[in-house]
């Protein structure tokens, strides 16, 4: 469940699919379609467009860089102030599904290092939200204002919590059907019932 990013990591691929605002520093012939508001064939120097992070990163790292990257709203000063004051009040489920992971990529575009500090502060403050969500008996509903990775951590902690309370309650743990076997049986049954 660890979120280490690597070439084959699905979660990192989803993070790098997020769109971020960029400004093109060169003309791009035939790339007009990258700007949905334009009908031109070519993309002109100076155009501001939102493109996926993976594309922005690869264009930014060309020498010379082909784009400059602007901060998405949630990392800008207005939000940073709110987050630094009380990060727990912000609904990251709505405003930043991949707040930390995207932030790690974005932070280098903020030379003053404010984004980095906000990420660290926010993470530290919101840890207690995960703590309390993981031992609440409700299932992790979509109503909770947690980001995607916070949600995953909460779910993992809830699994531990549940295993422990089962252990405390009962004697032996019966042997059980393997996970995938059980899931496939369940799916097969569901499919059969449809007919």
């Amino acid at each position: 469940m660890s979120r280490q990013s690597n070439y084959l990591s699905i979660s990192d691929i989803l993070v790098t699919n997020e769109k971020i605002p960029c400004k093109f520093l060169h003309d791009l012939p035939k790339m007009g379609f990258l700007d949905p508001s334009s009908t031109e064939d070519d993309l002109k120097l100076g155009t501001n467009v939102e493109i996926p992070l993976w594309l922005a990163e690869s264009l930014y790292f060309r020498k010379p860089p082909l784009v400059s990257v602007d901060l998405p709203k949630i990392y800008k000063e207005a939000y940073r102030e709110i987050l630094n004051a009380d990060a727990c009040t912000v609904d990251l489920h709505k405003l930043g599904q991949h707040f930390y992971e995207l932030g790690c990529y974005i932070a280098k575009h903020d030379i003053k290092g404010e984004v980095a500090n906000t990420l660290i502060n926010t993470f530290r403050q919101r840890f207690r939200m995960i703590l309390s969500a993981s031992c609440s008996t409700d299932s992790i509903s979509s109503l909770q204002p947690l980001s995607e990775s916070e949600r995953e951590r909460t779910a993992a902690a809830a699994v531990t919590e549940k295993a422990l309370s089962l252990w405390l309650q009962r004697g032996d743990c019966p042997l059980s059907t393997a996970n995938m076997v059980a899931s496939h049986r369940k799916r097969k049954r569901a499919e059969m019932e449809m007919f």
Binding site: N6, Y7, L8
Partner: protein, 216 residues
């Protein structure tokens, strides 16, 4: 039903089955909790398998309802659990970190400090070959020419040596350097005998391998 003391091939020193079992149990626990693969304990595994075999033969001589038979069987099941779980944990790591383990292992083989058993090494190599041929057959062979490479440097997955682990110090160790990313100064800590800590794996990896600390 007595067991003999066992002589390990390389060692002149005699060790008891009890010690071997304890070593193996410890190795299992550490392997389960360490992010990277640890040096193998093949001698201990084989030695224990020998004990199991010996014991099983003797149990078969006992009447089925003999109390001793069930006690011995229960103990054997416990030991088999440790061995299977230990070996499977290693296989899981070998598969997940296949490329990086093979890279490290090639260097270790040269210096004779290999972490994998010969069987594990063969398994890892074969696993990589199978992975390569599947990815080629399913995708790489069909994409445009300059995209076809099976690039080990990109596909490699490293164990997270920066992962935080819980440990107990078996003896006092001083001067562990913790990397401090916030300030300018790294922090230095001592591990007193029997004290417990949560810290990054990397600075204590060697202590774990030399048995000075154990993971919890």
């Amino acid at each position: 039903m007595e067991y003999d003391n066992i002589e390990l091939s390389d060692d002149e020193e005699e060790i008891t089955a009890q010690t071997v079992l304890r070593t193996l149990q410890n190795a299992w626990q550490n392997e389960r909790l360490a992010p990277e693969i640890l040096p193998h304990q093949n001698e201990m595994v084989e030695c224990m398998l020998g004990q199991i075999q010996h014991m099983e033969r003797n149990i078969n001589k006992l009447p089925k309802t003999d109390l001793r038979a069930s006690i011995h069987k229960m103990e054997l099941n416990r030991i088999k659990f440790i061995i299977c779980n230990y070996l499977k944990t290693r296989l899981d790591k070998i598969e997940k970190y296949c490329i990086s383990i093979l890279n490290d292992e090639k260097q270790r083989l040269e210096s004779g400090t290999n972490y994998l058993t010969p069987s594990e090494y063969k398994y890892a190599q074969e696993y990589l070959i199978n992975m390569e041929s599947h990815l080629k057959e399913a995708a790489l062979d069909h994409v445009p020419g300059n995209m076809q490479s099976f690039d080990l440097n990109k596909l490699v997955i490293y164990p997270n040596l920066q992962a935080h682990v819980f440990l107990k110090a078996n003896e006092t160790v001083t001067g562990i350097i913790l990397e401090d990313l916030g300030g300018d100064q790294d922090e230095e800590i001592d591990l007193e005998e029997n004290s417990q800590h949560i810290l990054q794996y990397k600075p204590i990896a060697d202590l774990l391998k030399s048995g000075k600390v154990q993971l919890m």
